[in-house]
């Protein structure tokens, strides 16, 4: 017995086999199958239920366990769906669960919210094939072929009451005998490839679109609420909650309090329509952004296609643009700086040339001259430490021979080139190449000697236990005197003591150092330290020295030093994000809540606002991650070998 009913939406619909009647007044007709939009759906088929919007969240998957229609034609047709959970929906409960396949689903079991929901029949967006691959004896085992061609598989269930993954499947789930849940013994015409399903889903959503954002668009459901009896209202609310729950879970938040949600709904419906639509948009945005890597997002900001919150994407575009400009600007002054530095270096090669001339005269005086040269080169007139003295003497024999070479090369080069910078470069490059060609061994000796170990600096004039406490005070004082230096490009695992040792061994200065702790705003792969010197001259000297020369640490990074700009002390008067309502506006409980701390429940405005903040935080976390990844790669490209390779 078939009845053909033209669905009001214009989509083809036909009832299939009748199953029985029910309901209080026997006015409810149950069915076993129906044809909708060209597809036949039977009981215990798995279907997709999803949003009509083009590319947002993926559809939900459920199994039809009841189909019915009221005698009163104004009450729309309904299906009851037993849900399958995607791993992304129950992510917090998947910890410790082994072996979750990419297309694995979890059948809802147990009792409670989230097990099954009643939906409008028109909410169905297409069929899909869900194969049961449980090794249970009652389950007809599917062939490998079938497993590969199935859209989804499942073998475990998720108890919605206890929120746990259960490996066995009970005898009856949601009142449905388990044999219907397992694979059917007879071969069925299963839905074919996933593309067909997608075409269905897309096709359905397109055809549904002109009729208003249908499938689970919160609007329709809420409007339908007005027409239904109270039970149906509760359950369709449940459906919305299911969707919202999906959203919540995608945003990795617990959603066991959907009941409170429904209370809120019944409270202020009209206002909430807007709020919910917005909020679901926000959530969609959140999930969409979470699924897209940050780089894509930056590029997508120019397209601004599917995103509803367009202003935020344009903001991102702006950020991108401005950042590019800024980096360009920064690189320009950096280049200026470079040329300045190079001009500063010009002095030294010239000096070397001059001295070259004088070297040939008495060999005996080489040692002193060389020492002077090195001392001028480093612009350090202070007394040298013992190791360095030893080292310069070692340096002498190999240097001597190469000196002549350098001079020759230097002269020839200066004739050839015109610009200053090029000569300087030429000087720096040619001699070293010349050296490399002839005197490889000498080279290594030279380089090796320079590797010095950082030794513990003597505790001269400082008692240990005063350091940590008044650091801030001493720093503020030092700031006034201008002796605080910021050292950057350190290895982030160094400690403050090590930094002090480094400064002592390499620069021969006593100091107090403090590593800056890693926080969510610091660059994770570099470390910084604040160093206090005794006087401003020392600080200046150190900075200059580190700027002109390059102190390479065993981590492969040269130190960067500059004067530190420390934020002035004092706390800001208000924290953005904390709303201060006027005293008369708050009730006592709220005031208490503000004064202490609490977890927010998802049944109020506060929760929605908190979600917006979470979105803000998550966005920035992702942005920071992508930026630091890129920075790390850039650094890696320039990595310098600490110990040069022996040829």
């Amino acid at each position: 017995m078939e009845e053909s009913v033209v669905a009001s939406e214009g989509l083809e619909f036909k009832w299939g086999k009748k199953k029985g009647v029910g309901g209080k007044k026997k006015d409810v007709q149950f069915y076993e199958s129906f044809i909708y939009d060209g597809d036949e759906y039977r009981l215990y088929d798995c279907v997709l239920v999803g949003d009509a919007s083009p590319d947002s969240t993926e559809p939900f998957i459920g199994m039809i366990i009841k189909i019915w229609e009221h005698a009163n034609k104004h009450i729309p047709r309904k299906v009851k769906l037993l849900w399958f959970f995607k791993p992304s929906e129950i992510a917090p409960y998947l910890e410790g669960v082994p072996d979750v396949l990419a297309n694995e689903l979890f059948l809802a079991s147990g009792e409670g919210l989230g097990l099954a929901n009643t939906n409008l029949l028109e909410a169905i967006g297409g069929k899909c094939s869900v194969l049961c691959i449980s090794k249970d004896k009652r389950n007809p085992q599917p062939s490998d072929e079938k497993i590969n061609s199935a859209d989804f598989v499942f073998r475990r269930s998720f108890d919605v009451k206890h929120c746990k993954v259960v490996d066995t499947i009970d005898d009856k789930i949601a009142g449905v005998d388990v044999k219907f849940i397992f694979n059917r013994a007879c071969s069925e015409k299963e839905a074919t490839a996933a593309q067909n399903i997608e075409a269905d889903v897309n096709g359905n959503s397109d055809s549904l679109k002109p009729n208003g954002p249908l499938a689970s668009g919160s609007g329709r459901k809420i409007e339908d609420n007005h027409f239904e009896s109270s039970d149906c209202k509760k359950s369709s609310n449940g459906c919305i909650q299911e969707k919202e729950k999906g959203h919540y879970q995608l945003a990795t938040k617990k959603a066991t309090v959907a009941e409170e949600r429904s209370n809120k709904d019944s409270g202020s419906r009209g206002n909430h329509f807007d709020g919910k639509a917005q909020e679901s948009e926000v959530k969609k945005q959140l999930t969409k952004q979470k699924s897209m890597p940050a780089e894509e997002r930056y590029s997508n900001s120019f397209e601004a296609s599917g995103s509803r919150i367009i202003h935020s994407t344009s903001r991102k575009a702006q950020v991108n643009d401005v950042k590019k400009q800024l980096t360009k600007q920064k690189s320009m002054p950096a280049e200026e700086r470079y040329s300045k530095e190079s001009s500063g270096l010009d002095y030294r090669p010239l000096k070397k040339q001059k001295l070259d001339g004088s070297v040939t005269v008495p060999d005996g005086r080489n040692t002193t001259l060389l020492q002077n040269i090195t001392s001028d080169g480093k612009k350090d007139t202070g007394s040298f430490k013992r190791p360095r003295d030893k080292v310069t003497i070692e340096e002498v024999p190999p240097e001597k021979r190469s000196f002549v070479k350098k001079r020759d090369l230097g002269v020839s080069v200066s004739e050839g080139k015109t610009t200053k910078t090029v000569t300087e470069k030429g000087l720096s490059k040619k001699p070293s190449f010349g050296r490399a060609e002839d005197k490889m061994l000498a080279d290594d000796n030279e380089r090796n000697y320079q590797v010095t170990e950082v030794c513990r600096r003597p505790d001269a004039g400082k008692s240990k236990w005063f350091r940590s406490l008044p650091w801030e005070e001493s720093m503020r004082e030092a700031e006034k005197k201008g002796t605080v230096v910021l050292l950057q490009n350190l290895d982030p695992t160094y400690t403050s003591d090590e930094v002090e040792d480094i400064v002592y061994s390499a620069l021969n200065e006593q100091c107090e150092a403090r590593m800056i702790e890693r926080t969510s705003v610091t660059i994770p792969h570099v470390g910084e330290a604040l160093v206090i010197f005794k006087t401003r001259e020392v600080a200046e000297r150190v900075i200059r020295r580190l700027d002109e020369g390059c102190l390479l640490l065993s981590s492969g990074r040269p130190l960067v030093a500059s004067f530190a700009k420390i934020t002035p002390p004092g706390k800001p008067s208000s924290f953005s994000g904390h709303i201060k309502l006027h005293k008369t506006q708050t009730r006592r409980e709220m005031r208490d809540a503000v004064a202490t701390s609490h977890c927010s429940q998802p049944n109020n405005l506060e929760f929605d606002m908190a979600m917006e903040w979470c979105l803000h935080q998550a966005r920035h976390e992702q942005a920071s991650e992508s930026v630091s990844k890129r920075q790390l790669e850039e650094m890696k490209l320039l990595r310098i070998n600490f110990k040069p390779k022996l040829p």
Binding site: P92, K253, K254, T327, K330, S331, A334, K429, S432, R447, Q450, E453, V454, S468, M475, L486, N489, T493, Y494, I502, R514, I516, T519, V521, I523, G527, L530, C550, L551, L552, L553, S554, P558, V560, T567, K571, F575, S576, G577, H578, Q585, V594, T596, S597, H598, C599, L605, E606, M609, A610, E612, W613, C614, H616, V627, E634, M635, L638, I640, P644
Partner: protein
């Protein structure tokens, strides 16, 4: 076999595992506030603020909360990750994650590591590379501070928007309350012979 250094470092690592790094906290929060907040999860042994010397002033504060056991720390992290936890103000939630050794300023030295250094001469072929690397380091700092600034601006915008919405909601509810209290709604309902739900 472990040297005293290694033993100290292991103890430190154990302490790290017990500590939670809390972020996005209001700078106005004090130690007792934080203690009472996280005592709901277990016993808080120590609260240490991470000072903000180089960042902008409006940056949210970060705190290291050391709990008694590792499980408590895990509980804090998982709860705060799932539900928005607000401390001393609404509605901006705090963020929690596991602490890392680099977050502790008083950490002991990593045992078995010696740092070496060398000065690179200007005529060394690596000098250029080192130069560029220094420049790159500076560029990265600039990029980061720019990003931070942008973040703060967006946060400011969001909070303004939210406080406006909160205010409007409040006004709306106040108005509704007033109408119902004054009996205006009841009178209107009588006029149109509609049923007015007994609100009080």
């Amino acid at each position: 076999m472990a040297t005293p250094e290694e033993a100290a470092y292991d103890k430190f690592l154990e302490r790290v595992r017990r500590t939670v790094y809390i972020d996005e906290l209001t700078p106005l929060a004090t130690t007792p506030v934080i203690e009472s907040a996280f005592n709901q999860f277990g016993t808080v042994k120590k609260v240490s603020f991470i000072p903000n010397f180089l960042g902008p002033k409006e940056l949210p504060m970060s705190v290291l909360v050391e709990m008694e056991t590792e499980d408590m720390a895990q509980a804090v992290i998982s709860t705060v990750s799932q539900l928005p936890f607000m401390v001393a103000g609404m509605p901006r939630p705090v963020r929690a994650s596991a602490a890392e050794p680099n977050m502790f300023v008083d950490r002991p030295k990593k045992p078995g590591r010696t740092i070496r250094f060398r000065w690179i001469e200007p005529n060394d072929p690596d000098f250029d590379k080192a130069r560029r690397m220094k420049r790159l380091a500076r560029k990265h700092t600039a990029e980061n501070s720019f990003m931070l600034k942008k973040q703060l601006e967006e946060a400011e915008k969001l909070s303004k928007q939210q406080s406006e919405t909160a205010l409007t909601h409040h006004k709306k509810f106040e108005m509704m309350d007033k109408l119902l209290n004054d009996g205006v709604a009841q009178k209107l309902a009588d006029r149109y012979s509609m049923k007015c739900f007994p609100y009080r």
